[in-house]
């Protein structure tokens, strides 16, 4: 009787290929017939992935033994490897065109997320400086939050909130990007690089651009991958110092 679960467990990565293929197939049908192509199939598939993740646990759907391979296929090694591969065909001259505004977008993106996120946290009742900084850092990405919280010695429930903020940011970015791409002029490599620098959450940026226009993925991902590292350095140091002048 346990033949099927055993077979699934033995071949978890292959099962993951099959599952993602099925999700994509259903999503393309939904996009074509129910949404009249207004939302691209990839966006539907990514949203469907998020909904499926809700029924799982800490590692989303991968917490169910049948779908354990999804954690490997969607893990950081495969994600980073396939992101790097998209760079083949990206043009160096397009990247040079963005120039220093691309770097500026990184600093502005981090500052806005940190101070706006922290202020909202402050006005919602988290008034001690460590909590404000951790919440602000969480508004950068779900990695920056816990790194900053740990560095400053924030409590674990605040760290959990900061992770939640980062994950919500990823979800919002993933769903919103393809919907408002046209309105914010996100249709060229330069804007994609600025977008990657301002938003910063690599998974959200990558997923959002994939659903908008796969050609833009390498440009957005390029700046976004510098965001988390830079934010992890700035949030517990310079940003925290500036915050201490106000609180």
């Amino acid at each position: 009787m346990d033949l099927i679960p055993k077979l699934f467990a033995k071949n978890e990565l292959i099962i993951a290929f099959l599952v993602v293929g099925l999700i994509m197939f259903i999503s393309v049908l939904v996009s074509k017939h129910l949404l009249r192509n207004r939302i691209p199939g990839a966006a539907v598939a990514i949203t469907m992935g998020l909904i499926l993740a809700y029924f799982g646990g800490k590692k989303g759907i991968a917490d169910m033994p049948l779908f354990a391979g999804m954690a490997f296929l969607g893990g950081s090694m495969m994600r980073d490897f396939s992101i790097v591969s998209t760079a083949m065909g990206a043009s160096l001259s397009e990247i040079k065109k963005t120039g220093w505004v691309g770097i500026l977008s990184l600093f502005i993106g981090i500052a806005v997320a940190f101070f706006l996120g922290g202020s909202i946290g402050y006005f919602m009742g988290y008034t001690d400086i460590k909590s404000v900084a951790t919440i602000g850092a969480g508004a950068c990405t779900f990695i920056v939050g816990p790194v900053t919280g740990a560095a400053l010695g924030a409590s674990s429930d605040i760290i959990a909130i900061s992770i939640a903020i980062g994950v919500i940011k990823t979800v919002v970015v993933t769903i919103l990007t393809p919907l408002i791409a046209k309105r914010i002029g996100l249709d060229n490599p330069q804007t994609a690089m600025i977008y990657g620098g301002l938003i910063g959450t690599t998974s959200g940026v990558a997923a959002g651009l994939a659903a908008t226009d796969p050609k833009l993925v390498p440009y957005g991902a390029l700046t976004a991958t510098f965001y988390t590292g830079l934010a992890c350095m700035l949030c517990p140091s310079l940003c925290y110092f500036i915050l201490s002048l106000f609180i």
Partner: protein, 123 residues
């Protein structure tokens, strides 16, 4: 041979990770700073150079294209393995901060891209 393309991609990836880790040590940060970004830059430069020298044929290049085609499926698997439940159970603070901080960043995109176009045309 397809594997040549995949090997070039792997070499760029690992070299990028190495640079990222080295920067992390340099700045006393426990982790990787922009490793993926450096890997991408390497592939852009190296890929272009190899193509010009004709060291890789079209078939080798399909080895790299396969992986960029797997990119969206990987992202789908990634979103299916996020801790969505925790994100939704983080309470109102998490939701309000997550949504508003993100929205403001979105609003800044057109502003910065205008700035970029201005500096571009002034050059």
């Amino acid at each position: 041979m397809k594997i040549y393309g995949v090997a070039v991609l792997s070499a760029c990836f690992i070299a990028g990770q190495l640079i990222g880790e080295a920067l992390g040590i340099l700045f006393h940060f426990d982790g990787n700073i922009g490793g993926v970004g450096f890997g991408m830059l390497l592939l852009i430069v190296l890929g272009d150079w190899i193509k010009k020298k004709k060291w890789l044929d079209a078939e080798a290049e399909t080895g790299i294209h396969f992986w960029s085609g797997m990119y969206i499926p990987v992202v789908i698997a990634m979103s299916a393995t996020q801790n969505v439940k925790a994100a939704l159970s983080g309470g109102w603070v998490a939701l309000v901060v997550g949504v508003f901080a993100t929205l403001l960043c979105f609003l800044l995109i057109p502003l910065l891209s205008k700035l970029q176009k201005k500096t571009d045309s002034s050059l």
